[in-house]
Amino acid sequence: MSKLLDPKIMMAIKDLSLAAKTTIDGFMQGINKSAIKGPGMEFSQYRSYQPGDDLRLLDWKMFARSDRYYIRESEIETNITLRLLVDASASMDHQDGDFKKIDYARYLAASLAYLGNLQGDIIGLNVFREHEVIALPAKQDFQHLSRLFYQLEQITPAGKFTAADVYTPLYTGGGSSELTILISDLYQDTNEIFELLDVAGTMKHEVIVFHLMSRNELELDFQGYSNFEDLETGETIQVDQSAIRKAYMSKLQTYLEEVKERALDKRIFYRMLRTDQPLDTAIRDFLNQRKKLKV
């Protein structure tokens, strides 16, 4: 499998669809198609009837032609509903180097949507802003993908994470199980993000959380700065980085552990992504989870 291009380069491509296509095509090269055969639209092969086979699968036209029993097999084709949740709170404006977390989230969401579309999935998008949720209903067609890309491009992070009363209506309907992918930095005031995940969990959705962390956060490398302002609360703090490094690192570790544990408690697939790393882990996780949902 070819190494994916550096996110820095990919994000320089302003056209999301192109960036997503480049990434996914590069990723999909050499990945084998599904080996599971079964009923479906796309013909795969004929095999001779074995006692015990479902008679409904017998190809009667073949029997008429050749007077033999054949079972018609086709590739199993399942299309799942994929719902991308993008956190657009102000904290997503956190910058490391040339790009922000929201850029990475946008690119990740676009790539996953493209991949999903390639596999015939139904894709929806929810962008969580402070007082509204931009909700793109789940559909399966190429034009819808363009709409989705457009919405992704329009995201400007601001304010805090959405309050529960704003998004609850979206999750009231029953419906089949979906694959919900949350892309967020998981910085929350009280517990609002996990509450959202609870809601998704109760609907028996398969949930993936991609936790975006930038390099400078993980390594405490804000060179030349001693004053820091919280993007969401506006609170400023003065610290000497070298002095608090040890405390910061241990605190960060505890925080990441805690988040991971909470996600696992809720049977949520959790993955922390470094924004300076390529997307391949994220895509692989996506495919694995998708497979689970199919079977």
Binding site: S226, N227, E229, L231, Y248
Partner: protein
């Protein structure tokens, strides 16, 4: 041990407040980075305490040190150390111009002193060394920095450790021993010499005294200049020179300043008493009743003489008047044109000279007989028509000058009362009187005992402070520059 000559300069060290404030301030104006969340960075409760924390202790320390050093430089540090007195033979001091004379008279003792390791130095300011064996040494020219011996002794005392033996060969003229003999640490041995006898003499003046006698002035021209000797005869004129029989009538006009007039009267009386010349003093109340015999008129009034009144003065009158209106506070000395000051006299107030600019006394239109420490005339003489006008740019009052309390006022007024140089110099005849050895070494001998043979030496250490300052400055710059590079 480091000592400070100008402790007030340490006030400059208050300047350390500046870097301290800057370093406290610095953290507040630091650049702010917006990040996703600050909750990992720490609790905001300690934000306040942090905002007053000094950053960059080493840099602050450097800058503080820099300012303290600069303050120290202003305060003029010296390193004071006590050095063990070296076993030095000592000095022989003599006036260079007198060397041949002294050599003639004191050959034996000089020779033994030189053999004992004594160095020969000029008895003048800074005591230049005389190399007797060097043929390039010129003895004929008088030394430039000639000062009264007692003043020189003071300087000498600082140059040598206590108890050093100093042999001084000097002419025994009282003139050389003006002033008060200083207390000293040195062992001074005076070798007083008779003045050179190869002088030519002549009669300079003769005048009648108050008691009817006659005094003749004999000028003596020696290799050190001309001085005068007086001889007193009972009667009879000397055919060689005319006898001066005139009486000097001194008139005092001081309608509102009688106290001033009293000081003048006392001084004039002293002159009369000492010289025994015919001098009479009278107080004038009305200028119109001025006696035609008046020789000297003291116009001790702020009111100026009118032009007509001045023109009416008898021919040859010496007019002494207060000059100037604008009072100026000053703390200076009164010196003659050659720069020799009246001793122990401070000039506290003076009036401003007509020409406001500081001018060269020698080139001034009214040439100062006496000048103050800044070169401005205090007593100036101009010839105006028939009269000699002495302008006095101060007042005879204790709050103007200390002169009125001192015998120096006699010297000050002498050129006014007795303008002829011969007469004046005769007054100083007493200065040529020989000094006896017993008169000398009367001042206190300080710590000449053998136990305390050490000397306090003060060395200027400011160059070291300069080097240190430069080093600190460069270090500070270097650190600051590197810091900036990291930030950018």
């Amino acid at each position: 041990m480091i000592q400070i000559l100008y402790p007030l300069g340490l006030l400059a060290a208050l300047g350390i407040l500046v870097p301290v404030i800057i370093h406290l301030w610095n953290i507040k104006s630091g650049r702010t980075l917006k990040i996703g969340s600050v909750f990992l960075l720490g609790t905001p409760t300690n934000q306040r305490s942090r905002s007053f924390r000094v950053q960059d202790w080493p840099l602050l320390l450097l800058r503080t040190l820099l300012i303290v050093l600069a303050a120290m430089l202003i305060a003029e540090p010296v390193y004071v150390s006590t050095q063990k007195a070296t076993k030095q033979a000592g000095w022989v001091l003599l006036e260079k111009a007198e060397f041949s004379n002294i050599w003639k008279q004191e050959h034996a003792s000089l020779d033994s002193l030189i053999k004992a390791g004594y160095e020969i130095h000029d008895l003048a300011y800074d005591f230049p060394k005389i190399d007797v064996k060097d043929s390039a040494t010129t003895f004929s020219t008088p030394s430039s920095g000639k000062l009264p011996y007692h003043a020189l002794l003071k300087q000498l005392d600082h140059l040598h450790p206590a108890g050093t033996n100093i042999h001084i060969f000097a002419a025994n003229e009282r003139d050389n021993f003006r002033g008060v003999e200083p207390a000293k640490h040195l062992n001074v041995h005076w070798e007083l010499l008779q003045p050179d006898s190869t002088n030519s003499t002549w009669l300079a003046a003769a005048y009648q005294l108050q008691n009817g006698g006659v005094r003749t002035l004999e000028a003596v021209a020696g290799n050190k200049g001309t001085y005068y000797k007086t001889t007193q005869t009972s009667t009879g004129a000397n055919p060689e020179i005319p006898l001066d029989t005139a009486t000097t009538l001194v008139q005092l006009y001081a309608p509102n300043n009688m106290a001033d007039a009293e000081y003048v009267r006392a001084a004039v009386k002293a002159i009369a008493q000492y010289t025994e010349r015919k001098i009479s003093i009278a107080v004038l109340t009305d200028i119109n009743k001025l006696s035609p015999q008046t020789k000297v008129l003291f116009w001790l009034s702020d009111k100026k003489l009118t032009g007509a009144q001045r023109a009416a003065l008898p021919r040859g009158t010496r007019l002494f008047s207060y000059e100037g209106d604008k009072v100026q506070n000053i703390k200076s000395s009164i010196q003659d044109a050659a720069g020799v000051a009246l001793q122990n006299v401070t000039l506290l107030k003076r009036t401003q000279n007509a020409s406001k600019k500081r001018i060269d006394n020698a080139a001034a239109p009214d040439k100062g007989i006496w000048i103050d420490g800044t070169g401005q005339p205090v007593l100036a003489l101009t010839r105006e028509g028939n009269i000699d006008h002495y302008r006095f740019y101060s007042r005879f009052r204790p709050d103007w000058t200390e002169m009125v309390w001192s015998d120096q006022m006699v010297y000050f007024l002498l050129p006014v009362i007795l303008p002829e140089s011969a007469a004046r110099n005769a007054f100083r005849d007493a200065l040529k009187a020989p000094v006896a050895k017993a008169d000398l070494n009367n001042a206190q001998q300080i710590a000449a005992d053998a136990n305390l043979k050490s000397q306090v030496v003060a060395t200027d250490v400011s160059p070291w402070f300069w080097y240190l300052l430069l080093l600190l400055f460069l270090t500070e710059r270097w650190i600051t520059y590197n810091k900036r590079k990291v930030v950018s």
